[in-house]
Symmetry: C2
Subunit: 195 residues, 2 copies
DNA sequence: TAATAAAACTAATGGTATTAGTTTTCTGAA
DNA sequence: TTCAGAAAACTAATACCATTAGTTTTATTA
């Protein structure tokens, strides 16, 4: 009655990510997970500490994925100073929309107790944006750079989050709106830093 | 055994809103609601159709509240064309941060079946922003105006959502960041519409 | 005042997560 | 090669959730 399916942490998290992306983060439960892995729910406790731990690990997976595609995006840029920001923005939105469950996990850091690893990855993401923005705002002080990073992040998260919630349904191309807002924001911060 | 507490739809939704704002939308359950109202969970079904209906009503309450403060914000403006947008932005963020549970309900429109009323309120919100933005972009065509509205909404939702998720913790004033990003975005869209 | 409708209740069902305790299976050391 | 212990599955049980069915109490109103 226990043919030892060969479960392990990695396979569990892979299944969790797949469920999250396909049917939503809220439907990652021990029940759905166990069913997909052909196992009874309590068996999962041999490999994982419970649902909260699974959620935390999904957060980390999402941050890692996001960081990876954004890192790749800046690496591939030929002219580092000009195109880094749009490349970062496109990579961010693409990843979020293609991995809605992991992206949602990325945001829903329940305020309390992120692990060290999660803090670390989140900081790397901020640095990536910060470094991309800096050459654009040569005369900006540290506070203004932080303002600019926060605004950029707000724009990226707001756009993707609204798309994922089913927003922006009017008959106007969403991708064009995205490029429009990124261009506008960049033009705006550049102008502000000159003033 | 049933002293008839005097429950009704309005009192239930008031309790639901209070729980949502104080301990999070996810902790609005029939159990917490019944406990707060000194009633057993099944009694709630005499007034309300179940948890999904309560969630829908919270969405509507949130949209109504948001629309009300934004409407008030534009009404109070002396110079209609200049300051409407910052006033709308500030009203939006203030409401969202002061009513986190209702605001969350506002966004989490689970894609499927919003009621007519919800659709209506959501459209009124878009109009409010659209009308605020139009005098700013006199030479913009309809598509560009929609792009601009979407960007503005992305910025507002992204900022508030990240704040409510516990983000933006560095030692730089969040309100200043908010004003910075609004100013930058407005300067940017104005410049784009001229080009 | 008696009948009816409304609002509360209890009890039961089926779904969750989690814990405890048990059985099976694999592995590594004698 | 065997067998003892660890690991991984299991069953059973607890506690909590939403919801439904059926019952009792309360209020209204004819």
């Amino acid at each position: 009655m226990s043919p030892r399916v060969g479960l392990d942490d990695a396979r569990i998290m892979q299944a969790a990510a797949s469920i999250a992306n396909e049917t939503g983060l809220q439907s990652v439960t021990l029940a759905t997970l166990a069913k997909q892995l052909n196992v009874r729910p309590p068996s999962l406790y041999n490999h994982v500490n419970g649902l909260p731990e699974i959620r935390n690990k999904l957060t980390l997976l999402g941050l890692q994925g996001l960081q990876a595609v954004m890192h790749e995006a800046v690496s591939k840029q030929k002219q580092p100073e000009s195109g880094a920001i749009p490349a970062l923005a496109i990579a961010y939105a693409k990843y979020a929309i293609e991995h809605p469950g992991l992206y949602e996990a990325t945001i829903n850091i329940n305020a309390r107790e992120h692990s060290e690893e999660i803090q670390q990855k989140a900081a790397e993401l901020v640095d990536l944006v910060s470094n991309g923005l800096r050459p654009f705002l040569p005369s900006a002080d540290e506070a203004d750079l932080i303002h600019a990073v926060r605004g950029f992040r707000s724009l990226l998260h707001g756009y993707t989050s609204l798309i994922l919630s089913g927003g922006f349904n009017m008959a106007v191309d969403r991708d064009e709106s995205f490029l429009y807002m990124i261009r506008a924001y960049m033009a705006g911060i550049q102008r502000q830093s000159v003033l």
